[in-house]
Symmetry: C2
Subunit: 192 residues, 2 copies
């Protein structure tokens, strides 16, 4: 009965990510996950605490990976060029890993300590890119909020087919970020 496979928490998480990316996070059920892993549903509880816990793990992994993608994208770049690249990398991540991205954007609350920490990592990454602009800490934090709003909003709308006109989406994203950055330059010049 029941040949034991070398199943561990990471393998389960990977399978969950695949399912989420393929079918959407709403369709990620323990039943489907167990089937994919050729075990029975209750056996999953040897590796995860339950469905909410699994979704939290997806969120955390997603945040880590999207941050890595942005870090990778800004290598050798600075200022406007770096911010633009980071924004594009964020949206590209959402396109390539839609399930993980949904997990990030649907997580019910950032209150969980683990998620808080990963989220703070993203913020501090963005703050470092902003350093050369010489903004005050407060100003920089407002800009970080703005940046996150733009890229998250764009990725989210795109993911839900919210952009229906036959208009190049990459171009829309580029313009959004560039227009914002042009405004930011003007703000900085005014010493604001």
């Amino acid at each position: 009965m029941a040949i034991r496979q070398g199943l561990d928490a990471e393998t389960v998480l990977q399978a969950a990510i695949e399912l989420a990316d393929q079918q959407g996070i709403e369709q990620l059920s323990l039943a489907a996950l167990a089937t994919k892993l050729t075990i029975k549903t209750p056996s999953l509880y040897n590796h995860i605490k339950g469905l909410p816990d699994l979704r939290k793990q997806l969120s955390k992994r997603g945040l880590l990976l999207v941050k890595e993608a942005m870090i990778e994208a800004v290598i050798g770049k600075a200022e406007d060029e770096a911010l633009l690249a980071a924004g594009v990398a964020y949206v590209d991540f959402a396109r390539k890993q839609p399930g993980l991205y949904e997990a990030i954007s649907l997580l019910p609350d950032y209150e969980d300590p683990e998620l808080k920490e990963v989220g703070a990592g993203v913020v501090s990454f963005l703050l470092r890119i902003l350093a050369p602009y010489g903004l005050s800490e407060e100003d920089a934090l407002h800009v970080v909020r703005g940046f996150r709003s733009m890229v998250h909003g764009f990725a989210s709308l795109e993911h839900r087919n919210g952009f229906r006109m036959g208009l190049d989406r990459d171009e829309s994203l580029r313009r959004l970020l560039q227009t914002y950055l042009r405004g930011l330059r003007a703000d900085v010049a005014r010493g604001k």
Copy 2:
């Protein structure tokens, strides 16, 4: 048996909106809705087609109401002032009707004809506000995408407690929109 109350589709929808606003759209179940209306779950099917249909109705109503809120907010305003007011109204709507707002942002797809139509209404409203800028149609559509991304992203992150620093959120939103609008002015001046 079963005193018949004057229950109709609109009453059911209103009750669903209340539940969603209070407990989040994830918690909106037919069981909870039936309890709130003091009927049995299957009786709901006299007024709705099912849970997916109900959620679609919430999305549609949300889109209609958020558009109305923006229209109301721009009365007597034009150009930058109008766009700023519309953006603030959008975010305020999300704050006051979080469940309806979730319904908008979680709707699985804009492919449904009814939702398409309402969504198109929002877009054409924004295009009318943009008219005085004298942009080409294509340019204006890019700006609409940018605007929607900004306000949706901001509202979404705020809703999930994504902004954790003790920093004024209204100020963050105002700066985001104003910085973008400043950049847009620069773009327009360049004839771009």
